[in-house]
Symmetry: C2
Subunit: 206 residues, 2 copies
DNA sequence: ACCTGAACACCGTTCAAGT
DNA sequence: ACCTGAACACCGTTCAAGT
């Protein structure tokens, strides 16, 4: 029996999770699937196409059942957290996703859910679509950074933090004061803070 | 005379601009500098260290003279645009920057300028530092996406757009309506929209 | 102090050939 | 229709050796 596309994508996500984005190679993936690397090119025209498939799969469970009774702001908040959680579900998920520009059903459903919630909140079509993408950019930027820092080992993380404090102390008092807020805070709290500020900023004024 | 670190970074940025992030290899960089690839490892311990140096250099001119007479919101807006312009100044600049976690003078000055402006606006230390990073995440996410789309050639861009409209039309009415707003708008306008919404959302309420 | 030659252990991708 | 073997044109990095 031949290998299915979906099986390859699932295995690729497992490999990503195990080895990170640098360890995700066509050869290693093939090995896991017990085929030879060139065989993958019968199923996908390129590695990029495989990454596109992985991005689509990452969004599979997002915005499936949005609580239609909730306020529009609550719906935006809910979907935003779902997106972040989906990206976090695999190592380097945000980086994989940000390198792709897919218009698949899963990805468009996510976009649609944000835009339609904002429309329900009274935003005009332009503000709703630009607003939805603003939210996505924030979510992506935040999560890329979060996963990138998570990739550092204990020692590297500590060195990073030390360099920051050292440099900031000498010249940048506010940045120095910020060090604690950044390094010792829960990422979830920081994420929520930014999302809520952005949602508030998108509120129609009248 | 030996080659200086700064010369290598400058040449690396030129190579990035000419070939994009995939074309930025140690061998090609060495060739431009008329040395052999392994020689680069006397100046930088790894390619990552070189990328860190490039990120620092990208921020060199940002937040140099912030208009101290301007309102805090105006200052945040100004620095945000400067960051975006700095990232845009080199092909794939945002992607290079987002992969690095440098605490150098240039990068910290940028952070400091945002945090201190927000502090002047009346935000508490935690909100100011989290807010500054929220702005940075948005800027990074936006600019990565912008430069990624710019990397597509005309045909690929058109195909992308078609796939989006096709899929959206069938099932996602709001996303379909958003297509025009996205594909035909000035990125500068969309960037400004999001930044201004976020700045508004960060405004202290009382 | 700064640079080279040669090599190691990999990559993504192509393509003729097999079943 | 699906897969393999062999190869191409690269990578980042190490290291002994040169000046």
């Amino acid at each position: 029996m031949a290998i299915q596309r979906s099986k390859i994508v699932a295995e690729a996500l497992d490999l990503l999770d195990a080895e990170g984005i640098d360890g995700l190679t066509m050869r290693r993936l093939a090995q896991r699937l017990q085929i030879q690397a060139p065989s993958l090119y019968w199923h996908f025209p390129s590695k990029q196409a495989l990454l596109d498939g992985m991005s689509d799969a990452l969004m599979e469970s997002v915005a499936r059942d949005v609580d239609s009774a909730a306020s529009y702001e609550e719906r935006v908040r809910q979907v935003s957290h779902e997106i972040r959680n989906a990206l976090l579900s695999r190592r380097d998920g945000a980086q994989v996703f940000s390198g792709t520009y897919v218009s698949t059903e899963n990805v468009l459903r996510v976009g649609e859910s944000l835009i339609s919630a904002l429309r329900d909140g009274g935003l005009d079509p332009r503000s709703a679509s630009w607003g939805a993408f603003s939210l996505l950019y924030y979510i992506l930027g935040f999560t890329i950074e979060e996963q990138g820092l998570a990739a550092l080992d204990e020692t590297a993380f500590h060195k990073q933090q030390e360099a920051f404090r050292q440099m900031a102390q000498a010249q940048f008092s506010n940045a120095f004061a910020a060090a604690g807020e950044l390094f010792e805070s829960d990422p979830e709290d920081r994420f929520t803070f930014g999302i809520d500020r952005l949602i508030a900023g998108l509120r129609p004024s009248e």
